[in-house]
């Protein structure tokens, strides 16, 4: 493991009081967030929650109406070339120059970066079966997405931002991509932000999850801790209410008239067991996604 990078303890990215509105619609509403170096974070949110807006603002590609984004200690809106070269980005819609061939495109991008891993690029192009000499417009959607991923990995970025990177890939293609991401994390301690709707992919590689809802990060937690500390409670409302206060649980969902609620224990220790009045059941990431992104 050849890592020459030094973890100084300062976050790789920090966002403070970020506000972005389109006309009268507020998308990000005073959002605060920080990504420590070397973390792999899954960004989750419903359609229209503002994931792409958040990612574009984080990268300095979009102006915020208020707030600050700091990347590698610099303002995202005034990044120097050195900082730019440390970022890899796979946008939701591939923005490749479609008249070029894959080889031409990669040669073009190579000229911008001081570091470029030719062996990795060649290996991925052949393993992922991408024609080098065909115009990009003639490649399939999945191949274009893979090319976009190769382009983002080629300069071995320290921060890798992926906006729905696997939406056009089949399950085998997604698995290949995850393996590549695993390698990247092992070898380079890359900080990764990864938005996707495919929770099963996210669970495999993201150690942390962040839920975007109501213009804010509703929760950022370690996935394992979240799964182990959260449960679904069912029973008569009064019984459930008593159970919640007795065991010092925090409600993640609001309790409806009768429906079950999801709660999270405060601090360490086990979750309480089922009683005759209240049933306690484990929850999955999908349950939490539904609960936290309402």
């Amino acid at each position: 493991m050849s890592s020459t990078r030094i973890d100084t303890g300062t976050p790789c990215v920090s966002l403070q009081g970020l506000r972005v509105a389109f006309g009268r619609q507020t998308v990000l509403d005073g959002l605060d967030w920080a990504l420590p170096v070397g973390q792999v974070v899954g960004l989750l949110g419903r359609n229209g929650a503002g994931k792409t807006t958040l990612i574009e603002t984080l990268l300095g590609l979009r102006d915020a109406d208020a707030g600050r984004v700091v990347l590698f200690g610099q303002s995202a809106l005034a990044l120097d070339d050195d900082a730019r070269a440390r970022i890899g980005y796979v946008p939701q819609r591939s923005d490749l120059f479609e008249w070029m061939t894959a080889d031409q495109l990669l040669a073009y991008f190579r000229s911008f970066y001081p570091r470029w891993n030719t062996a990795k690029v060649d290996g991925l192009l052949s393993r992922w079966d991408i024609a080098r000499d065909k115009p990009i417009a003639k490649l399939s959607g999945g191949q274009q997405q893979r090319l976009s991923i190769i382009r983002a990995l080629a300069h071995e970025p320290e921060l890798l931002v992926l906006d729905e990177p696997v939406s056009s890939l089949d399950p085998a293609g997604r698995r290949d991509f995850l393996r590549e991401l695993v390698d990247q994390v092992v070898d380079l301690r890359t900080t990764v932000v990864f938005s996707t709707h495919i929770l099963s992919d996210l669970e495999r590689v993201a150690l942390d999850v962040a839920f975007l809802s109501g213009g804010n990060i509703a929760l950022h937690a370690t996935l394992d801790d979240l799964l182990e500390s959260s449960v679904r409670l069912a029973g008569a409302p009064a019984d459930v209410q008593g159970f919640v206060s007795e065991h010092q649980l925090d409600a993640i969902t609001r309790q409806g008239a009768a429906g079950p609620i999801i709660v999270r224990r405060r601090g360490a220790g086990g979750v309480p067991a089922t009683t005759p009045a209240v049933t306690v059941e484990p929850v999955t990431l999908e349950d939490l996604f539904m609960a936290l992104t309402e």
Partner: protein, 151 residues
């Protein structure tokens, strides 16, 4: 019982070199309430209890297992760390994880059945929720066990 099939693939190397467990011994179910590192720990625990993994058998390296399952290497490290803390595996020179010395043979059936209990408790709860008669659920379980053996 899915774990029956998890515990069958072990690569045996020639002569006196340690048996290196194939990564295909492990599998990961996404979308589960059980975190991935706990799934891996439970799989090793079951295979050791059943005697499929024995003292001296080597687990795959963190990197190999992370690659083959396409999971974060930190998750594999966490599972191995927990297994080490439980005394199921020890760290050998060169960082390979091997099944600990005391696990020479399968555990007594009584201990193994304890490991099965939580899974069956969950199944029993589902039987009650579905309002199925116990006899019918037992017939289904028997049928499934026999199907697996026929494979």
């Amino acid at each position: 019982m899915r774990w029956v099939s998890w515990c069958i693939t072990v690569v045996i190397h020639k002569d006196r070199s340690p048996r290196v467990t194939d990564s295909s011994l492990f599998s990961v179910v996404a979308g589960s309430a059980e975190p991935i590192y706990r799934q891996l720990v439970a799989q090793v625990r079951r295979c050791v209890a059943g005697g499929q993994l024995k003292a001296g058998d080597e687990l795959p390296s963190v990197r190999d297992l992370a690659q083959s399952l396409a999971v974060n290497p930190m998750t594999v490290s966490k599972a191995y760390g927990l297994l080490e803390a439980e005394g199921l595996v020890t760290r050998r020179r060169g960082l390979a994880m091997v099944i600990a010395e005391q696990h020479r043979r399968a555990q007594p059936a009584a201990d193994r059945i304890d490991l099965l209990r939580p899974t069956l408790e969950r199944a029993a709860q589902e039987v009650r929720q579905l309002q199925l008669p116990a006899a019918q659920a037992l017939i289904l379980f028997k049928t499934i066990l026999n199907e697996q053996e026929g494979d």
